[in-house]
Symmetry: C2
Subunit: 417 residues, 2 copies
Amino acid sequence: MDPELASPTAAVLVVGTELTSGLRPDTNGPNVARALEDAGYDVRSVTALPDDADAIASFLTRALPGHRLIVVTGGLGPTHDDVTREAAARALGRTLTCDEGVLRSLGPAVARHGCAEAGARVLRQAEIIDGARILMPTLGTAPGQVLEHEHGTLALLPGPPHEMGPMLGVLLDDRPGHASPRILRTIGHPESDIQLLVEGALAGSSGMAFTILASPGLVDVILRDGGAGETALDAAARAAAVALGDACYSTDGSTLAEAIMDAAERLGLRICTAESCTGGMVASALTDVAGSSAAFAGGVVAYADAVKSTVLGVSSATLEAHGAVSAETAIAMAEGARMRLGADIAVAITGIAGPTGGSAAKPVGTVWLAIATPADTHAERRMLPGDRDGVRIRATVAALGLLLRAVRPAAGPGVDV
Amino acid sequence: MDPELASPTAAVLVVGTELTSGLRPDTNGPNVARALEDAGYDVRSVTALPDDADAIASFLTRALPGHRLIVVTGGLGPTHDDVTREAAARALGRTLTCDEGVLRSLGPAVARHGCAEAGARVLRQAEIIDGARILMPTLGTAPGQVLEHEHGTLALLPGPPHEMGPMLGVLLDDRPGHASPRILRTIGHPESDIQLLVEGALAGSSGMAFTILASPGLVDVILRDGGAGETALDAAARAAAVALGDACYSTDGSTLAEAIMDAAERLGLRICTAESCTGGMVASALTDVAGSSAAFAGGVVAYADAVKSTVLGVSSATLEAHGAVSAETAIAMAEGARMRLGADIAVAITGIAGPTGGSAAKPVGTVWLAIATPADTHAERRMLPGDRDGVRIRATVAALGLLLRAVRPAAGPGVDV
């Protein structure tokens, strides 16, 4: 590709010893990277470094010449380990000065702390690198700093996502438009099958690049235009969706839960849940969707057998004869929830997530799911791999898959993209 | 510090365009980093690079001389974008050879694919770098490769966590013992207060380093020995826990949900939940704890008002007079759940998570919580900041905080560490 047409390069640096020591998963790195890609940058690396001024300065010194934009998050706060300001000033060969305007804006935060020592720390956040454009925080106290240098731009943003997000928006607002990637989401097929189907569909389209993202039970396909433009990207996305057929449940970026709630609301159907081993994860996924009250009635987490009986009406005879993890109990849970919660569709999940509770006949990972609709009720058994978390997540995805089929009997958006 | 006594340095590289484009949060980076730190390494960086052989080779060429151990995850699979093998071979100046033993082990996977093209791809995973120790997978198909070189060790591990984890365990099994960091977890106090308390407690102890990790409603303190040893670290942890007092709910690494379930089980108390805006998140957090069936009866997600009435017995008069988000409704939900689910303690949450549904009197973020015990029931109002996710997470933490207080009336483990 002509280097003039190539996307400008970017690097993301997230600062925090909690990140290099693995004590906390990093959400800023992926979020900033995605925003930069959507704004047309080619993100060449996402790096986490400890709260170590030498390590940060040395990384920046090496990275500054090779990237049009470098975004650093974290290390701008008031505590002793916030060293990003000093490190960036050193890499740029500039000085740090206390900014009067920022200082004044910190007044209320200093006053709020009501403690001489904590108040004094807050003031460190007024130290600004020479030449910086200051991004004032909307919610927190640490201002962002944007520095133009001979090779491009260096942006220092605070670590807390709710402070960083709006500043990143301001930083990227000036960028020209760019074809955002298209996302096709699939359920129920292995990664390798999805890859072959998409390769086949794109055989005729030049320039398209795609990435496959698999998570338990789900495979997403990310299509990028590689410079071919919006129209070509749309055509490629349409071809891929047709090839994927029923497996593809979303072409507009919506999640599985969003696809379910959207279809249910359009049909005027209300959903409810009856969960044992997933312990509320299915209800929680459905209510994660804004506006979910239109199509979600509620759910029962029937962990103890007594709750299965008293709240859902599963008979003791069923529980005794077949056990809590059985087709019969799953069906009774689904039908009981559907009647008692006054919903149109109920999904029930009962299984053995482990680490204990398994037997030779019903090992850890055995999960019975049932779906009850106005038309009928049926149950399916799944043998799910993984540890406790893995079984719970896979069981949640399986339950959402059953709900999708119930609200979208002729699934597959291949026809309407 | 004497360089001979310093921890050996390590770097973590996670490979995948989905990571640099932010399409998926990275869990391998933090998990590997934490395992390396626990094994005594000083992790100097965690880097994500795209599926780009040049970028990976150039990173490794630069990083190999400076780190005793480099762990790379991802890019060992069968698809076209799996380029870690080639890149590592190039950085080491070694060749790739097809390994007969690995090839034989892949036979079943090839056969399972039942498709000539996907089968052929699987075979790429048999390509091994000269001199590599091969780590055979227990579950998947991509073997790991461990390479000794003049400066240290380079380990290539597969990306899927369930395949990577066991191999990392094998890799680290030989490491000598090392003082793992101590974790003190707190609830209900701002980060800056916690920092001052811990600084005060550690004023007399030399060599100790600590990191503060804040998440909504919770602050964790991570103490490291900095070479001072287990006994000094224990003494420092004890001093910090005493200084933190009631705020500190865990000194043994247990989570808030684990602390609650553990205390409830010891007291023979059973917990249940009645959730509206959190939609199952509280139940899901409690059932995330292995063995939770001993102390968790179940829960109701009463999203629709009808479910609040029919399943929990909240009277229509209460709902009409005070609204679904009110002290009265929260109390009726908690008492209804406690009676109907046959539990000792019930927590109820009803609030407005947004983005819609707020009013001048009850803006988005208004959440009423109630806790019912054999002794009494009371309700608290919280005004929680953040978007829908933020409000739901903070409301979940607030509910867990009420449960903790109910099962550990004299909270504060300062006395028993």
